[in-house]
């Protein structure tokens, strides 16, 4: 390995916990801990899971034109946000593809925080800064200043409540507040990437170890487990959430990826708007669907999708689903076949195995 991997402030903690470390987009990250991906996945669905997501990027946009500037770069409508609210969105490129997907946090009318993917942080930063004209905004890439720890699962609220005086129940889904967690100043956001209730806690990088250890210790009696990237992936896939580089990419539009709900074409002009609008008016050629294997076998990312003997699409994410105990996946198929109940076959290392398009999300947590 020629290039040194980047490390989160929790790197040594992961190693001490027996985390199996892998190169994830240039970051040295735990893919799993000794409990294993299935245990970690189940802990998050039934109790609580703790995830180090400090590798994610944080970019501040401040100034009188902050909202207008970000609105011109993203698909969702930033003007609809109120203080203390977060929004899932995407940076489209000029061709209607996606530079990255992100969360936009509104701290105030002149203060937004953009949280972007780890492997694309540099690309996003270059994209955002290159699109700055004479708007009155200050951009700060603060990614290295923050740690981000996600506590997810039905017990997450109860565990975190023991560590803060900030009332957590009133924080609605996709809302956030600032407060102290274990005496440390933090952003407490009711968001996540697992399909469970839970929080993402942002704090100064130097507080990462304290917060992580305290959350693990406090959650012990509730059966919390530290979870690696493998469980993070199976959890998000069961919940049909997109992963950049798989369901979204430079040549995939949000509309194709079933993200029409974050694509507000009538909000006014934004980068890529015309390309997306013309894609919409000419009709989408392909659509993202969820499928379940109907024969023993596991579809993996990049496997070909067939209809009769014709190759028609590609698997973007495929895996066993530990909670559902099924083999599932997401795939792009031609729009005319993108219907629930449609049978397809997937080329699993030379064997064409039967699968069926099913409704998504595969998993929805009980209310």
């Amino acid at each position: 390995m020629s290039e040194e991997l980047k490390k989160t402030p929790l790197n040594e903690v992961h190693r001490a916990l027996g985390g199996k470390m892998v190169d994830f987009g240039g970051w040295d990250m735990p893919v799993q801990y000794p409990a294993g991906v299935i245990e970690e996945h189940m802990a998050t669905r039934t109790r609580a899971g703790l995830f180090d997501v400090s590798h994610m990027g944080e970019i501040w946009v401040k100034g009188p034109d902050a909202i207008g500037f970000v609105n011109g770069l993203t698909t969702n409508d930033v003007t609809k946000l109120v203080d203390g609210q977060a929004q899932y969105s995407a940076f489209p490129n000029e061709q209607g593809g996606v530079v990255d997907d992100l969360l936009v946090y509104r701290f105030g009318p002149e203060q937004l925080l953009l949280v972007v993917n780890a492997a694309t942080t540099d690309k996003d930063w270059a994209w955002i800064t290159s699109h700055k004209g004479d708007e009155q905004v200050t951009l700060t890439n603060a990614s290295a200043d923050y740690c981000q720890i996600a506590i997810q699962g039905p017990k997450a609220l109860g565990i975190l409540r023991k560590l803060t005086d900030t009332p957590l129940e009133p924080i609605k889904y996709y809302h956030f507040t600032t407060g102290e967690v274990d005496g440390v100043e933090a952003i407490i956001s009711r968001t996540g990437y697992t399909g469970e209730d839970g929080f993402e806690v942002y704090a100064a990088a130097e507080n990462a170890e304290q917060l992580w250890n305290k959350m693990l210790e406090t959650g012990k009696e509730d059966g919390i487990l530290p979870c690696g990237l493998a469980a993070r992936n199976t959890l998000r896939l069961e919940s049909s959430m997109s992963l950049y580089g798989h369901e979204l990419d430079d040549d995939i539009s949000t509309l194709e990826a079933n993200l029409g709900w974050i694509t507000k074409l009538d909000k006014g002009d934004f980068t890529g708007r015309d390309a997306i609008a013309s894609l919409k008016s000419s009709g989408l050629k392909r659509k993202l669907v969820g499928f379940e294997m109907r024969e023993p076998g596991i579809a993996r990312d990049g496997f070909d999708v067939y209809l009769d003997d014709k190759k028609v699409g590609i698997v973007t994410s495929g895996s066993p689903a530990p909670f559902l105990k099924k083999n599932i996946g997401l795939a792009f198929v031609p729009t005319e076949f993108a219907n629930v109940g449609q049978q397809i076959t997937i080329d699993v290392r030379g064997k064409k195995l039967l699968a069926e398009i099913v409704p998504t999300p595969f998993y929805k947590r009980p209310k």
């Binding site: 799993q32 294993g36 023993p296 076998g297 596991i298 290392r349």
Partner: protein, 129 residues
Amino acid sequence: MSNIPENLRYSKDHEWISADGDVASIGITDYAQTSLGDVVYIDLPRVGDKFSAHEAFGSVESVKAVSEVFTPIAGEIVEVNDGLNDTPEKVNSDPYGAGWFVKVKMDNPNGVDAMLSSVEYEEYLSTIG
């Protein structure tokens, strides 16, 4: 530390073999199952299938990855461990016992002696870190 029973023979592909006359049981080692993580699916051959040495006879899939399994020795499949269809996790919990994959009638039973001993396999593991 990997568990490496002394009475078995090993391949550099991380299979173990246990010979009884001209029939050998084959599975994957403790090191292999640890590297793979939680095993969820095993694709095994059919009884009667014939394989030459070092040929892939099946695959083992964990949540995260798939890995081929190779016959360390040439022969014909005489039994497969169908129980793994319902309990693939046995490969993790008992790789040298209930987690066996297939039994092979060996073309040349003497070939087993050419495989790695437990000591040699342990040395090999130390070289691959």
